[in-house]
């Protein structure tokens, strides 16, 4: 069995299940989703994406806390004995999975971007290593084999399973050593993960005032504005805009890197975008290596030209 663990039905979960179905086909594994949440909702979205949906419903799962999640997840895993366990590399997966791995005395690979299964049933877990400079493929000698997977890496496939069985498992109540005493929803300035077009800027834009043209362009094409770490550190834009290893990982249809030289840390956050356009004065800038279209020129003036031409299109 290949098990995916999640605490909600969202895009990440469906992505992961899509990939899980693909992998499971090769070894005739069953795919199961362990869903630990406080409410049962959006369940119909899961139909066809797993053979089994194991539901654990409890008030204790309303906000993630390790104690109740760990005890119950371990219980389910010991009962169903999956060969492989996957979860998203989110604050949820990145907290629960290491804890579960320690309990099960097994290996865990963080932040995978590629998964495969060999003929012996080994999960080939590939992740960027050394700041994204190399891709390392890792296998686990113990069982179960565990991995967290970066969101937005795998695509959502149409559902393939004829039947999806919903199984209820009774959670046990755990005395939590952590007590939730406050909760405030986060309001983000920029939702760049969802944009189809991202215009990202680096220090090559030269000055903060030049962001003006970037905002205008973004508005024209319904896009979002991204940034390198240097730009965020210089306070041109807030941290919500940062793309890269220590910021966000994005995969838009069009990514425009303006005045970004392309440090590996930044590339790690955008290189899977569909079409990458790079504008940089330095023709040897590493960003051109991952770009589809490269313009060797001053970023600001090129953005202005694009904006003007688009303005003409709009009026035409």
């Amino acid at each position: 069995m290949l098990m995916v663990i999640s605490n909600k039905v969202d895009r990440n979960t469906i992505e992961l299940l899509s990939k899980a179905c693909e992998l499971a086909n090769r070894k005739n594994f069953e795919v199961s989703l362990l869903l630990m949440s406080a409410i049962q909702e959006k369940l119909e979205q899961l139909k066809g994406y797993a053979d089994n949906v194991i539901l654990m419903i409890s008030k204790q799962f309303e906000v993630f806390s390790l104690d109740p999640f760990l005890v119950n997840a371990e219980m389910v895993v010991r009962k169903y004995r999956p060969e492989i366990i996957l979860s998203s590399a989110t604050t949820f997966g990145r907290t629960l999975m290491p804890a579960l791995a320690a309990k099960l005395k097994t290996g865990l690979t963080a932040d995978c971007t590629e998964l495969d299964i060999d003929e012996k049933g080994n999960l080939l877990q590939t992740r960027p290593a050394i700041g994204g400079n190399v891709m390392a493929t890792i296998v686990t000698s113990t069982r179960p084999q565990m991995a967290t997977v970066r969101p937005k890496v795998f695509q959502i496939n149409p559902p393939t399973k004829q039947k999806t069985k919903f199984i209820f498992e009774q959670p046990i109540f755990v005395a939590d050593r952590c007590e939730l005493i406050g909760y405030k929803v986060r309001e983000e300035e920029a939702k760049i993960e969802e944009a189809d077009v991202i215009i990202s800027v680096g220090k090559g834009l030269r000055r903060k005032e030049n962001l003006d043209v970037v905002y205008k362009l973004a508005k024209f094409v319904n896009g979002a504005v991204g940034a390198t770490r240097a730009v965020v550190e210089a306070k041109w834009l807030s941290f919500d805009h940062q793309i890269g290893l220590s910021g966000k990982v994005v995969k838009p249809k069009i990514y425009i890197a303006a005045g970004i030289s392309g440090a590996v840390q930044h590339l790690a956050g955008m290189q899977t975008s569909q079409t990458i356009i790079a504008i940089n004065k330095d023709r040897y800038a590493p960003i051109f290596k991952v770009a589809d279209i490269g313009i060797v020129a001053d970023a600001y003036s090129i953005l202005q030209q694009i904006l003007e031409a688009l303005g003409d299109e709009k009026n035409a």
Binding site: K203, R206, K208, E233, A234, K235, K281, D282, S301
Partner: protein
């Protein structure tokens, strides 16, 4: 004029002559605040020395002024067209021709961003010691034109110390070469030194041979707050003459500068309330030796009344210190656009007098002032700020009075009006405070010999 532009287009190609108004506006400014300019006819982007040569010949024929320009980060208006004509941008001549490891030199075109040379040199374990604070955005050609300084001048010297040879297109269009990949050269006049810092008035540099040195391995940066500016600054000549240590940098930021930087970064500097901070950097080739050096230095500073001595000896911690220093100028530009950043330089012993005097000058003229800069080499960026309430008219008048007073004080202390930014147009009318008629006349004669029709960057340095 249409004919002139058509001929320009024949030389560099139609797409390398820009005339649209936005572009012209952009190429008629640099980073100097409050500078008047004229919109140029067009901007040309030559890609070879031969094209530059033809452009200059054409300009002489039509008597059209040519303003050469690198990355446009200058702080004296040197690349600003003030007599119309054309702007000649060297942006597209941006190749690093070679890094010659054995000879420890790099051959580069003027449009290369200085940091690019640094990055490539580092791959070979080498180091370009001339890079100024603006190296991320300024071009090497601009550095040469202005003889840029920076934070490492006290140990390594300004740009001129690192330029071994130049290919230059003279104002009349001839292509000449001086110097080469040699460290010693007394063949005739030192023409390389003459061109470096000539602010684009004597020729257009089209190829540059820069010296590279072995990269120092270890660095330590000291952040040293003081509760008294005078005491801090007095410690500088004392350290230099008594410790037997030559730091690469001794930088000063006074309380107002630190506030500017920390506001810009939204982060406090340790001892935010200190009257000033010194940043001192030392480099070396062995770690233990470097530790002995900074302990020696740190103890001296403690004796001189430092409130604390912070020591950063890894990259991460050093960046933490330097980012404050770098954020001062950015903060000024962001929060106080109405300002005047000066560049006076005095013998190091006189720094305390200079700095104390700036506070007096500011008070007398009801201006705000902040002081930061390279006190280790005597170069202070005295910056006058317009108080929020002050009228534009009064700001202009009082600033003028303050500047004259500042320059007279500087001259009296044996200093110069500009250490690393250049005269350009910003300071030319004050040059007579520092120079005699004979001295000025000699420079003017020189200019006439090089540029009989006065087409290359006219109106810069002097009229």
């Amino acid at each position: 004029m249409r004919e002139f532009i058509e001929k320009l287009q024949q030389i560099v190609g139609v797409e390398n002559v820009k005339t649209d108004p936005d572009e012209l506006e952009r190429y008629s400014k640099d980073e100097t605040s409050e500078i008047e300019h004229q919109t140029p006819l067009c901007v040309v982007f030559p890609t070879t020395a031969e094209e530059v040569s033809q452009i200059m010949k054409l300009a002489n024929l039509y008597k059209v002024p040519v303003t050469p320009r690198g990355a446009g980060t200058g702080l004296s208006g040197g690349a600003v067209p003030i007599k119309g004509g054309i702007v000649l941008s060297l942006e597209k001549m941006n190749r690093i021709v070679e890094i010659d490891r054995e000879n420890m030199v790099a051959v580069v075109e003027p449009g290369v961003i200085t940091d690019e040379i640094q990055k490539l040199a580092e791959e070979y374990g080498l180091f370009y010691a001339g890079d100024p604070a603006s190296s991320e955005s300024s071009s090497i050609g601009g550095n040469v034109a202005e003889n840029a300084g920076g934070v490492k001048v006290m140990k390594y010297g300004p740009t001129s110390h690192h330029i071994l040879g130049l290919e230059v297109v003279l104002p009349t269009g001839e292509i000449v070469n001086f110097g080469g990949k040699v460290l010693k050269n007394v063949m005739g006049y030192d023409m390389v030194r003459l061109f470096v810092g000539s602010e684009g008035t004597l020729g257009i540099v089209t190829k540059i041979i820069v010296r590279l040195i072995p990269k120092p391995k270890y660095f330590a940066t000291l952040l040293v707050p003081f509760d008294n500016v005078e005491r801090a600054v007095l410690s500088v000549p004392k350290i230099l003459s008594e410790s037997g240590i030559l730091p690469t940098s001794i930088e000063l930021m006074d309380k107002q500068s630190a506030l500017m930087a920390s506001t810009f970064l939204s982060e406090n500097i340790p001892h935010q309330d200190a009257e000033c901070h010194l940043i001192i950097e030392v480099d070396g080739t062995d770690k233990d030796g470097l530790a002995r050096t900074y302990i020696n230095l740190g103890e001296k500073l403690q004796q001189m009344g430092a409130l604390e001595v912070y020591i950063a000896d890894n990259r991460y911690q050093r960046l933490k210190i330097w980012k404050f220093r770098k954020a001062i100028a950015e903060g000024i530009i962001a929060f106080r656009p109405r300002h005047c950043m000066e560049d006076v330089s005095v013998p190091i012993k006189e720094i305390p007098k200079l700095i104390m005097k700036t506070y007096e000058i500011a008070e007398e003229n009801k201006l705000e002032v902040l002081n930061f800069g390279h006190v280790g080499d005597g170069n202070v960026h005295v910056t006058f700020l317009k108080p929020e309430q002050m009228s534009e008219q009064l700001w202009k008048e009082n600033l003028e009075k303050a500047l004259v007073d500042l320059y007279q004080t500087t001259a009296k202390l044996g200093g110069t009006i500009t250490g690393e930014h250049g005269i350009g147009i910003k300071r030319k009318k004050y040059l007579s405070i520092f120079m005699s008629k004979n001295e000025l006349d000699l420079m003017k004669k020189l200019k006439r010999i090089f540029d009989p029709n006065n087409v290359l960057n006219p109106g810069k340095v002097f009229d």
